[in-house]
């Protein structure tokens, strides 16, 4: 176990969370500005709705942060295979100006790559050589409120425009050719705890984006903005004004008793049920879009305050849930709550993947799957929102669901999971999902504290247990059976995300700098390269000039405090 992880994670309540932000001091360019290194490639193509819809079959480009609207992170090209990946070599390294967490999934449009850094820089570079076209740096407002780092997970692209959510809670539209700002809109008030780190998604002229802030007493949402001018089209609040108390569920979705004192909660609710606007429920990662049924499917984060539940009686809908809403109007369709009245911050973060799997009777149906901090992959019927199955536990579970105490109660998984925000990938032919897991033993302690006005509000603390080992595990889960097909243990907890390809390869990065390739069927390690800093971002793949490339950011990560870097590494066969 690395003392580095002990020290960082031991402060979970204070610093792993409470880093607000400021503008980085030593920057040569003015904020809100774009510098141009060379004229944009003539190959840059305006991305049409049809191209976005067919991205799953497009081996040339990588047009969505998770590959396609279904979030499968499955690349259709097969030039790189499990037979030849051992020969993979670096093609180039692109170094950014920002030495801080990198969580970006680069977008590639006909040989032009768009990537983002912490503090909301955007770069456009040549995806075959790494030469820079332009560099944009967002001008941050005076107040930035982030729990878990100043990172950014990438842009969305459509019709010649790029869209980025910023840590000061803005949505910015850039001209993809020049990097100049087209419009900018304030999504919510950062002084109340709102910020953005997710990659938005663009569909039918709408930019869809969720929000951070579940650690600050916000009211979570998914919003749709007009892609042309940034006007707000609709808002779906993840916390309904009435009815958030739900059904007073005793158990979690897997049927385990959560030891709730329902009587005490009901008494509390009768006294005060007006807390919907501080109940939390952020939406941390890119929603999936079901084009056939015009449905947006996403998962919702934890209630506020994370640990102190008595102040927020009831199921706290729709926190810790998978939710489906209508794409055109943002109206509710269904939900499935994984952890009612969560007091462990085991919220639903990793993005939903839309795919097919066998239902309980063996029939192949449309499903929505999610890898949970709880350590299970959930398989949900996409039409009804009913749980079909949940997988075997991917990491150790102990003492679920012991209640937090003043002194601290030990439970596995720790509050980072399981699967944190790291996107999974699937191999649709194998019916396997691949999940990046953390094992971080923690104690959960609770403090009765009032709303602190836009400051970090955990209602207690998560403390790492320094004497217990931490590690990670990449796990392949069979979606039809819920059984683990293979697993690969890593020396540090995993955070970042997975890429799967039609060449029977799975790519995953580690905090110690290793970027590895595995056989998708049996998990044999086939190749690795050390990038010199934490590989804690999801990889992407694309083709230029008939050559397949794999790109991944190696900038380390704030949450697990892995070694920081500033670069995107790109690999290809020699």
């Amino acid at each position: 176990m690395s003392s580095r992880f002990v020290s960082l994670a031991a402060v979970a309540v204070g610093c792993a969370f409470a880093l607000g932000s400021s503008v980085v001091a030593a920057q040569e360019m003015a904020a809100g500005a774009t510098t141009t290194a060379r004229p944009m490639s003539a190959n840059l193509t305006p991305i049409t709705q049809s191209m976005l819809d067919n991205a799953a079959k497009d081996g040339k480009n990588w047009l969505h942060s998770n590959g396609n609207y279904d979030n499968t992170r499955y690349y259709p090209g097969k030039q790189i295979t499990s037979e030849n990946v051992s020969r993979l070599k670096p093609a180039f390294v692109f170094q950014t100006a920002v030495l801080e967490s990198m969580e970006t999934a680069p977008i590639v449009d006909n040989g032009v790559m768009f990537l983002t850094t912490s503090f909301n820089h955007v770069y456009a570079i040549d995806a075959a050589t790494g030469e820079e076209y332009w560099h944009y740096k967002h001008k941050l407002g005076p107040i930035v409120t982030v729990c878990c780092g100043n990172n950014n997970r990438g842009v969305a692209i459509s019709e010649g425009k790029l869209y980025m959510g910023t840590i000061d809670a803005k949505l910015v539209a850039l001209d993809a050719k020049t990097g100049k700002v087209l419009w900018e809109t304030q999504i919510a008030d950062p002084d109340k705890g709102y910020s953005e780190t997710m990659a938005p998604v663009v569909v039918d002229g709408k930019v869809i984006i969720g929000t951070n802030g579940g650690e600050y007493g916000i009211r979570g949402f998914v919003k749709a903005f007009d892609a042309n001018d940034g006007k707000l089209l609709w808002t779906f609040y993840t916390i309904p004004e009435k009815g958030h108390e739900g059904v007073w569920a005793k158990d979690d979705a897997t049927g385990r008793d959560e030891h709730r004192n329902i009587d005490a909660e009901k008494a509390g609710f009768a006294k005060d049920s007006s807390f919907f606007d501080k109940l939390g429920g952020g939406v941390w990662m890119t929603p999936a879009i079901d084009r056939k049924t015009h449905t947006i499917v996403f998962v919702v984060g934890n209630p506020s305050p994370d640990l102190y539940g008595a102040i927020r009686p009831g199921d706290n809908l729709y926190t810790d849930s998978m939710v489906a809403i209508d794409l055109d109007k943002g109206t509710y369709k269904w939900h499935l709550q994984f952890v009612p009245h969560d007091v462990w911050d085991l919220d639903a973060v990793s993005p939903v993947i839309l795919t097919q799997a066998r239902d309980k009777s063996g029939k192949m149906v449309d499903v929505a799957i999610h890898g949970g901090k709880t350590g299970h992959v959930y398989v949900v019927d996409r039409a009804s929102g009913k749980l079909i199955r949940f997988s075997e536990a991917m990491i150790p579970q102990e003492n679920m669901w012991v209640l937090p105490t003043k002194e601290g109660a030990r439970m596995l998984p720790g509050a980072n999971g399981g699967v944190e925000w790291s996107p999974m990938a699937i191999n649709p032919g194998l019916h396997l999902a691949y999940a990046a897991n953390l094992h971080q033993p923690m104690t959960y302690s609770v403090e009765e504290v009032p709303y602190p006005g836009g400051k970090l509000w955990l209602g207690g603390a998560f403390k790492v247990i320094p004497t217990e080992e931490q590690w990670g595990q990449l796990v392949a889960v069979n979606l039809d059976t819920g059984k683990i097909a293979w697993k690969h243990k890593t020396p540090q907890p995993l955070i970042g995300g997975v890429l799967a390809t039609a060449g029977n390869v799975v790519f995953n990065g580690e905090a110690n700098g290793w970027f590895k390739a595995f056989d998708a069927k049996d998990g044999r390690e086939l190749w690795k390269y050390n990038c010199g800093a934490g590989v804690n971002a999801p990889a992407v793949s694309y083709m230029v000039g008939g050559k397949q490339y794999v790109a991944v950011a190696a900038g380390g990560n704030n949450q697990i405090d892995s070694k920081r870097g500033n670069s995107v590494f790109v690999f290809a066969l020699p």
Binding site: S3, V6, S7, S22, P142, S445, E447, P452, G459
Partner: protein, 198 residues
């Protein structure tokens, strides 16, 4: 009280502070200077308080000052002198005052430190993980205050108030972190922190 070993702690802390350095906005600093005239009566010239019961504001993180003023105004923090002071401040006032004080140079206090207490306090700080949020040297960042060189008497009062839950405007984080500190620990820690000044 438990001790934990973190060999990389210092390096991590310094790295984080380099990245998080904030440059006060000159326009805000000028506006804040005007508004700060009344504050000098207690907090001293340019925020270098000469009285141990009033905290030094010079060099303090603007976001921390902004949050405290907002909390005094909205009742989340209470002090018989500060609460009325903050009552009439607007958000612009608070941002300006924060920037002004952040831009001022803190001076070393005239205080007789007890070297045994200072050394004991250093051990308390390491074991209680203070530098993880307050950073190495207690220079602070964003909403986490700079404490280096602060009046020990003031630091002691705040730590005791957090410990006893008389002060709760940080959502209990400091209450958690002071939970296992004895009165002697707090005394030692206050001296250690005060001695970190320029």
């Amino acid at each position: 009280m438990t001790r934990s070993a973190f060999t990389a702690l210092g390096a991590l802390a310094l790295a984080a502070s380099a990245l998080a350095q904030h440059q006060p906005d000159p326009a805000q600093v000028a506006a804040g200077r005007e508004k700060s005239a009344i504050c000098a009566a207690c907090h001293g010239p340019e925020g270098n308080s000469q009285d141990p019961q009033y905290p030094i504001l010079a060099g303090q993180s603007w976001r921390y000052i902004y949050n405290q003023l907002k909390d005094f105004r909205e009742g989340r923090r209470s002090d018989p002198q500060m609460s009325p002071m903050a009552a009439g401040l607007s958000q612009e006032d608070m941002i300006a005052l924060g920037n002004y004080y952040e831009a001022q140079k803190p001076e070393r206090i005239k205080f007789q430190f007890d070297s045994a207490k200072v050394e004991a306090g250093r051990k308390v700080a390491d074991a209680a993980l203070c530098p993880m949020c307050h950073l190495g040297g207690f220079v602070g960042q964003n909403e986490i205050p700079r404490e280096a060189g602060q009046w020990p008497q003031y630091v002691k009062k705040q730590l005791s108030d957090f410990h006893a839950k008389r002060r709760t405007n940080d959502a209990g984080n400091m209450t958690s972190y002071t939970a296992n500190l004895s009165d002697q620990d707090i005394e030692d820690l206050s001296q250690y922190i005060g001695n970190l000044g320029p």
